[in-house]
Symmetry: C2
Subunit: 257 residues, 2 copies
């Protein structure tokens, strides 16, 4: 008998600043929201709060754009210093158009602007258009250390998912998407499972972590700073270990080229 | 204060056959699952049960493949009659490779095999590899008529979402994806919303219906025939009207070409 999937918003998380003890703050708001961690729960975190806690804030006026960054900035109508940071974070530029810069991030996955966020970033001197926020250096590692700390404090086995809003090649609108994961598989392989007629399933790989990312993103809304953390209960697959690398489409299977 | 998002599996739906009264069966299993429809609920249905109720079952041995279908069947290593049906359902072929046939469906969206499903289809003479299942002719219309019938019987205002499993150009694994919608917007426009610093949000369009599709798909699992219907409660955006066409990326914005 299938059980419900429930996603609880963690209301009341304070504004995260570089150096903040994010797992400690999460444990506090869990209590404030009358939620007690159970085995099998998954904490879903907006990338922004993880990046901020890790101090991944850069000041554009301190970045010297390269010639390539200036050239791409012209094509894409973006700030050259911003493009310079995107290039430093990227393994490969895939598409440039006015308003659009799609890259393969050094972490392997494809996204716009290497996931660098302009809005809602404050630096040491306050808030301004001059500050941008980069993805965590190692989002799987970030997820793992948050997981270990919360497991140590609660004695429960959990998963942690770090998500961002990504566009799609073929459809309009962004959806919540995995950028880091710990404690469960991003990709679920159903090979060998049979349907009710005994047919072997043909679509065998489900991006279950991305489906959960979408679910949590619905609650976070786009103003993810307001509710940047969600507790998911009733995730239907067993916890184990995982990496965002499971979702990276190898170049020879790339449908984009 | 944000509220939880809850997704309840509708256990016990019988095998759907052509001509079945799907809304009536859904109302019955809702009761059997001790769920009472509330205003704002969204019923999420696997495409398969809608297609089956509508009799969208074809027998491959009765399909005469065209020369183009035979050519593409060779490239993609697929059955020529199957490819013929894909072509009839498609506006445009986008990618052909061994094992892969990506098209723009006549309905506008991009998907593999025009959404035609081979597994778990039974015809009038039983079950076999010879039967395939096509998408509903008008999934928005299907969603709308299910919505109207259930609203009439319950007196509540609801949404209906019809979903399928789609691959992505840039990432491995399938995710639950909208193919038909009624009663709420597929794309939520957050233009003009401000974040907590007063910055206008830059990512303004969220494919909220696809995020919900992913959430429901998690519960359905890939063996969607077992739990092909999910009740979603706590959807954070207001109900209104909607169409899958909101999610179709116009050709001039296509990031794929």
């Amino acid at each position: 008998m299938a059980v419900p999937l429930q996603l609880f918003p963690l209301n009341g998380l304070p504004m995260i600043k570089p150096g903040d003890d994010l797992p400690g703050l999460l444990l506090r708001v869990l209590t404030e929201n009358n939620l007690r961690i159970e085995d099998g729960d998954i904490l879903v975190l907006a990338q922004k709060i993880v990046s901020k806690a890790e101090g991944r804030i850069y000041k554009l006026s301190e970045i010297e754009p390269s010639a390539e960054a200036r050239r791409i900035a012209e094509t894409t109508e973006k700030d050259p210093a911003f493009v310079e940071l995107v290039l430093r974070e990227s393994a490969e530029v895939l598409r440039t158009r006015p308003g659009t810069l799609i890259v393969r991030h050094k972490l392997g996955f494809v996204c716009a602007n290497a996931g660098i966020d302009h809005s809602n970033v404050s630096g040491p001197e306050g808030t301004g258009d001059d500050y941008v926020l980069l993805l965590p250096v190692d989002p799987d590692g970030s997820a793992n250390s948050i997981k270990e700390r919360i497991e140590k404090e609660t004695g429960k086995i959990i998963g942690v998912l770090i998500i961002d809003s990504h566009g799609r090649a073929w459809r309009l609108g962004t959806v919540g998407t995995t950028i880091g994961i710990a404690g469960f598989h991003a990709l679920v392989d159903l090979r060998g499972w049979e349907d009710i007629y005994g047919y072997k399933l043909r679509i065998t790989q489900v991006a279950a972590a991305d489906e959960l990312a979408g679910a949590a993103s619905l609650i976070m809304g786009q103003a993810a700073e307001r509710i940047p953390a969600v507790l998911a209960r009733g995730y239907p697959y067993p916890l184990s270990s995982g990496s965002v690398q499971e979702l990276v489409r190898p170049k020879d299977m790339d449908l984009f080229r």
